[in-house]
């Protein structure tokens, strides 16, 4: 089992569902279990689309290739089935759910992971929630606030990682989690992610980011450069520093 990659993407192509706009073009990517990878690339290169396609967003249609999660194809699975299988996405733009508290929301999400007739232990849940909130350095009252409703950008991102901490995914896809975070919040969020990965070394993380900054705090095993819907270069963390110095200009493929 340990030889099975957490995520194996083979020749993946995808387009916008309603239009003939191809965004992912024959993309290959493999993450071994427990690895942290970063995908960097210029705006419009398809990074966020990749995250959404992996999560099963209905606005995109897969036109070719295969995505294996722990050896199983997930392309036919609904977004909630993927979530229950252990795939989590931290959203670039988290969505507001007015009137639903974070605690209630997470309790519902954990309950959904249990079988029918199984009841979530509310005391365990409470402990877990408090522990996770401590990790993300938010007040206990945070859990009583309606999900993302009236949150600052930083609070929304913290809430994403809080959910990740409580739901404990096997594969976490972080879509530009660093955008909109000030340096203090970035440190807290990064510390949270690192702690989660230490607690669960099997957790595999795919980080999508525009900037090298995040990688100062969360050390990737590999860095990929994505341009025009495919991976054009892969390297170690030093690749991110190189990009930081040189920018993406060299990678643009003239059209």
């Amino acid at each position: 089992m340990s030889n099975t990659p957490a995520l194996e993407i083979r020749g993946l192509s995808a387009k916008v569902a309603d239009e003939d706009i191809s965004i992912l073009n024959n993309l290959d990517l493999t993450l071994e279990s427990g690895q942290i990878h970063a995908i960097m690339g210029p705006n419009g290169s398809g990074k966020s689309t990749l995250a959404k396609v992996l999560a099963g967003h209905p606005s995109y249609q897969v036109t070719g290739g295969e995505v294996l999660y722990l050896g199983q194809s997930i392309l036919e699975m609904e977004p909630d089935e993927r979530a229950l299988a252990g795939i989590f996405m931290a959203f670039q733009y988290p969505v507001e759910i007015p009137g639903v508290s974070i605690a209630n929301f997470l309790r519902t999400a954990l309950q959904a992971r249990l079988g029918r007739g199984e009841e979530l232990d509310l005391f365990d849940f409470q402990d877990q929630l408090l522990e996770s909130m401590e990790l993300l350095e938010v007040e206990p009252s945070f859990a009583e606030r309606p999900v993302n409703d009236g949150f600052s950008g930083g609070e929304k991102k913290r809430n994403e990682i809080l959910q990740m901490a409580v739901l404990q995914p096997t594969l976490a896809i972080m879509d530009e989690t660093d955008s909109g975070l000030d340096i203090d919040a970035l440190q807290i969020v990064s510390k949270g992610v690192n702690t989660l990965q230490q607690q669960n070394p099997e957790m595999t993380i795919l980080m999508i980011t525009h900037y090298q900054r995040l990688l100062d705090y969360i050390k990737p095993d590999l860095v990929h450069v994505m341009v025009d819907g495919k991976i054009v270069r892969t390297g170690g963390p030093e690749l991110a520093l190189e990009l930081e110095r040189q920018g993406y200009a060299d990678w643009k493929i003239p059209s």
Partner: protein, 471 residues
């Protein structure tokens, strides 16, 4: 969070579909309505002559008034009214103790959760079965404080003076066609009197339930809250599902005296063939506060606009309502506030949910009379549409005859967004669970005002209604 745990544990599936007990009425009129039926009802109830005359007068007014042409579609109603029984009496006496309540009625109550309510010492459960109170308990301490919580019939019998003084004064016979009809054939309902300065901590609760096909339910409730008194009255209704049309037309009259405070909470879940046309109105005196908390689910058509007439200086009226229109249903609801004195304040918060081809309408009136200076009113109505075919309309009527008054109106319409659903599904919720969660969040500002059991029940009903909402 314990609240949410309860939701999971409740099994109210039968609740949704309704259940029917074998009928055990001892007397009922023949279908349809004429003067002899009205006389029969009054005679059967051994009423004083003034009430018979009141009923007969009301019948004439009812017959003379045309069917309303506004609001919902009432075109089938005339035929329906020829078919229904206007009076059904299940038992000879009003029961005092739980032991005396017949078993089949107990079964119904158990399924409605009344014994639990008893265990929780919620106190004073007056349960209405068919057209009349059959079970009634009133806490000793309340009796000692002079509080009256009776069936409307016993109110008339045992407290004739106060009854006659107020009955029909808040909602006059001729207010509308259905208040006239109710005035002619009313049966069942509550009579509540809270004397000066008495504060009731636990709510007065009445359950009632329509249990016979083609039977009309014309409950009549009269509530008097004396100066400086505080009370909360809760009423919940459910109805079994039948194939033919059914009809409910209640009249609720409430008097809130100076410095008094009263809340009327009701959640109604009628069967989907029910016409539900209710007139409920409160008169509020100086510095008094009236709060309507109104939930409307089910029915074929509901037309219901709880009203506050703010008659005394500084009086406050609040109307909070939730309407849920499922397939084939029309909820035409809202509220009325009339500012007739200085420094009166009011607020209407109305939330509606429409699913499939369900239709919800907000219809509200805010009237400020000349001289009601310093008055303020705020109306907020929010509609949530579940499907593309769902419909919502807003009909706000604002009549302000006083320049030194402030009236605000705000309306929003929202849809359950694809991004919201995707977000929730990404956390492991099925589409139906996601939908139910969004809806629960939408009604939360009102649901949190409800007593716990009602909030749980409402959430559970919403969950059941969301089943099959997808696709």
């Amino acid at each position: 969070m314990p609240k949410s745990k309860l939701v999971e544990n409740l099994d109210l599936d039968n609740y949704k579909y309704g259940f029917v007990d074998s009928e055990s009425h001892v007397y009922r009129t023949r279908p349809g309505l004429d003067e002899s039926i009205v006389r029969e009802i009054s005679k059967h109830k051994k009423e004083p002559d003034w009430m018979l005359q009141f009923r007969l007068k009301a019948l004439k007014v009812y017959e003379s008034k045309p069917m309303p042409t506004w609001g919902g579609d009432l075109s089938d109603l005339e035929a329906t009214l020829d078919e229904i029984y206007f009076y059904v009496k299940p038992q000879d006496q009003t029961e005092r103790s739980w032991e005396d309540v017949p078993d089949n009625i107990k079964t119904t109550f158990e399924r409605l959760g009344i014994p639990e309510a008893e265990q929780k010492a919620l106190a004073g459960v007056g349960a209405q079965y068919e057209s009349e109170m059959v079970y009634h308990s009133l806490k000793e301490e309340w009796s000692s404080k002079g509080v009256i919580f009776d069936s409307i019939e016993d109110g008339l019998k045992n407290h004739p003076e106060i009854f006659k003084k107020h009955f029909g004064t808040i909602v006059p016979i001729a207010d509308n066609k259905f208040s006239a009809l109710n005035s002619a054939v009313w049966s069942g309902g509550s009579f509540v009197y809270v004397p000066k300065g008495v504060h009731l901590e636990t709510p007065l609760q009445a359950y009632f339930r329509v249990n016979q096909e083609r039977m009309g339910q014309f409950e009549r409730t009269l509530i008097i809250i004396e100066e400086g008194a505080h009370a909360h009255y809760i009423e919940g209704c459910t109805a079994p599902v039948y194939s033919t049309d059914s009809f409910h037309s209640g009249v609720i009259e409430i008097i809130v005296e100076k410095n008094a405070r009263f809340r009327y909470t009701t959640i109604q879940n009628w069967s989907n063939n029910m016409y539900n046309l209710v007139t409920q109105r409160a008169l509020v005196q100086e510095n008094g506060t009236m709060e309507w908390l109104d939930g409307n689910l089910g029915s074929k058509l509901t037309m219901k606009y709880p009203s506050c007439y703010l008659m005394g200086r500084g009086a406050h009226g609040s109307i909070m309502s939730i309407a849920y229109a499922g397939s084939g249903q029309h909820q035409d609801t809202g509220g009325k506030v009339v500012h007739a004195a200085k420094n009166t304040t009011s607020s209407i918060i109305s939330k509606s949910i429409s699913k499939e081809d369900g239709r919800s309408s907000y219809r509200g009136l805010c009237k400020v009379h000349e001289g009601a200076t310093g008055s303020r009113s705020n109306v907020e109505c929010d509609a949530l549409l579940i499907n593309e075919t769902s419909r919502t309309d807003t009909y706000p009527y604002i009549e302000v005859d006083e320049k030194r008054a402030t009236v605000g109106h705000e309306a929003t319409v929202s849809k359950v967004g694809d991004e919201q659903l995707f977000y929730l599904k990404n956390r492991g919720l099925s589409e139906e669970e996601a939908m139910a969660l969004v809806v629960r969040g939408f009604i939360e500002p009102i649901a949190k005002e409800l007593p716990l059991e009602y909030a749980v029940e409402l959430n559970r009903l919403i969950e059941l209604e969301m089943e099959g909402s997808v696709g």
